[in-house]
């Protein structure tokens, strides 16, 4: 039954994956238990003892900067009776004390003290065996920190694979990014995959879903309003990768969804930096720096570069998702421009974002309709551009034939299917050994 949730060969997925409790329970083990999940950014925990409480699937984790500068993550549950250890979202602490009985842990997760330890446990409580449960792996991609529960997972760099080449110009070569918190937070009645798949590769919806937003706030994308034009061939790219992460590129659209004078100032800033970068990293990658990327790092971490939105779609259940919305911004942007930019990101894609609300309705209704017994059994279509997927000698990944297509959807669900039908990372890796062929061979 599991195999039939996804049909890689024809680019189809069963609707019920967007709202089935049974599928969700498997995902917690096979997707969230195995994949690299976004935790935080270096800029949010700069000093020893700084911490944030983040999410990995349905688990809460404390992500803490260690004395030696490294980062560790622990389940946010006391080892004694499992109470929530840290009720704060962020802070600086040398340790964490449970509110229930007062068990106290260090920032390194070690159990340091237990009230009346000697008298009550008579020396039988081994503190060394009661450290907080630590997340197996924590790694960093140019400041973005991810964690993974599975010791056998590939490194974060290998996991990101072909999308790294596209992300580096904006995330690293630009001089680097900071992630601006605190995040906006809200609950939407959608399965976590609905927004993740939208960000991974849906340039198609922009002109229609966001028709009103495009007209009301004049941005570089506004000519698309009401589907009045189709972006020409060559307006961008769409790519996917072995581990499901994927993205779309819209060339030179640096000001993204921002409007008015802010958009003009951003274009000037981006253009000046592109010209400088072209001398250092070559014209091709400098152009990628200034181009607008929509993407998802598999499974649930999405972004729009240049527009500056950074999202984690954290699953609460099969049909409730907590949305975390941060701003990512180039470190060297002038202060006034940065402040206007941050506010504009939340105005468009935050909790009260007028672009975001357009999307949420689609994601919620996609999930809502899985309540229909018959509808849930039907297959959904992500076949756009299916015969045009290719390997390119200059561009990493499997590349779609135009900016508007569903290549990244297909790559996302190809990997999803490998995870859901495998019992270990070894099996996942073996199934994905010819991943490019699987996608290129697919036919409607």
């Amino acid at each position: 039954m599991r195999d039939s949730l996804i049909d890689v060969a024809t680019g189809k997925q069963r609707h019920e994956i967007q709202g089935s409790r049974a599928v969700f329970e498997q995902e917690l083990e096979k997707i969230f238990g195995r994949c690299w999940l976004f935790l935080t950014h270096e800029s949010l925990i700069p000093e020893y003892g700084d911490y944030v409480v983040s999410r990995m699937g349905t688990d809460e984790v404390i992500v803490s900067r260690q004395k030696d500068g490294s980062v560790k993550a622990f389940l946010n549950a006391c080892r004694h009776r499992g109470a929530q250890l840290c009720p704060n979202e962020a802070g600086n602490a040398r340790g964490f004390v449970c509110a229930y009985h007062g068990w106290a842990y260090g920032a390194n997760g070690e159990l340091q003290s237990v009230p009346f330890d000697e008298q009550l446990y008579e020396g039988l409580l081994d503190k060394c065996k009661n450290s907080l449960h630590e997340v197996a792996k924590v790694e960093n991609f140019h400041g973005f920190i991810y964690g993974c529960f599975d010791q056998d997972a590939p490194s974060l760099a290998d996991y990101l694979g072909d999308v790294k080449w596209y992300l580096e110009p904006y995330m690293e070569l630009s001089g680097g990014l900071e992630l601006v918190g605190p995040p906006g937070r809200c609950l939407i009645a959608a399965n976590w995959k609905a927004p993740s798949e939208n960000f991974v590769g849906d340039a198609y919806h922009v002109g229609w879903t966001h028709s009103s937003a495009l007209r009301a706030g004049q941005s570089v994308f506004s000519p698309l309003a009401g589907n009045s034009v189709l972006p020409p061939e060559g307006a961008g790219l769409q790519i996917t990768s072995k581990h499901g992460s994927g993205l779309g590129v819209l060339w030179d659209a640096y000001a993204g969804i921002h409007d008015g004078e802010l958009a003009q100032e951003l274009m000037a800033f981006g253009l000046a930096k592109e010209q400088r970068l072209a001398k250092e990293i070559g014209a091709e990658r400098a152009r990628i720096y200034r181009s607008h990327l929509n993407g998802t790092i598999f499974p649930n971490n999405s972004f729009l570069t240049c527009s500056g939105i950074f999202k984690a779609w954290q699953p609460r259940s099969e049909n409730i998702t907590e949305v975390f919305s941060w701003v990512m911004v180039e470190k060297d942007m002038p202060r006034d421009l940065k402040e206007a930019f941050i506010k504009s990101v939340h105005r468009t894609f935050g909790v009260a974002g007028y672009w975001e609300s357009d999307d949420n309705d689609n994601m919620e209704s996609e999930t809502f309709m899985t309540r229909g017994y018959q509808a849930g059994k039907k297959m959904l279509n992500s076949q756009m551009g299916i015969s045009g997927d290719r390997v390119d000698d200059k561009l990493p990944g499997v590349v779609g034939k135009s900016a508007i297509g569903e290549t990244s959807y297909r790559g996302y669900y190809r990997f999803y299917n490998d995870l859901m039908t495998s019992d270990s990372w070894a099996e996942v890796s073996s199934k994905g050994s010819n991943w490019q062929d699987q996608l290129i061979r697919a036919k409607s």
């Binding site: 704060n88 962020a90 918190g181 605190p182 009103s212 409007d259 008015g260 506010k343 105005r347 909790v351």
Partner: protein, 196 residues
Amino acid sequence: MSENTANIKEPLVTHRVMEMQSLFENPAGPELYRAAESFLYREARMLDSKMFRSWLRDLVSPDIRYLVTSTELRSLKERRYSLPDQVCLFDDDYRQLSIRVEHDLDPQNWRSSPQETYCRFITNIEVFETDNPQDITVRSNCLLIRSRRSYQTDQFFCSRLDTLTKQDGQDDFKLKSRIIDYPERCVSGHNMLVYL
């Protein structure tokens, strides 16, 4: 005379401003109180009826600052972690509010049809004079219930700190600043595409 929220310089930390006792030192007399109360009820009626363009034109001052923040949950004992603890869900001027209004009323705003309904309850109104004779400070609580499609009912609630202004020669107040530190950290109502 009492301070005036419209004059607070950056950085504007909303949760501190909401508790600035110096704002609340000079309660207004009954006439000003009635004028402010009637302004808030009129505004609530217009927003409940989705008369957003009229709201902007008639009740909102061209120099409006409309600010809704959300404050990160931190330990009361926190001293060392120095990163900002608030995010602006709204920080809009008149032009930016107009964009929201036009977005909402656009015939291709798919979420606006069928119509959603609003019902606002404005309570706990207090009115204070400020150091500027044209401006008054008005504090109120707002409970907004939104009903969408067949099954969705969302509640939004907050305390609001407003500056209303009456320029020379004008008969009525206009909203010059609204400051809200939204109390529910993780917004349960799907989005905050409402005017509080």
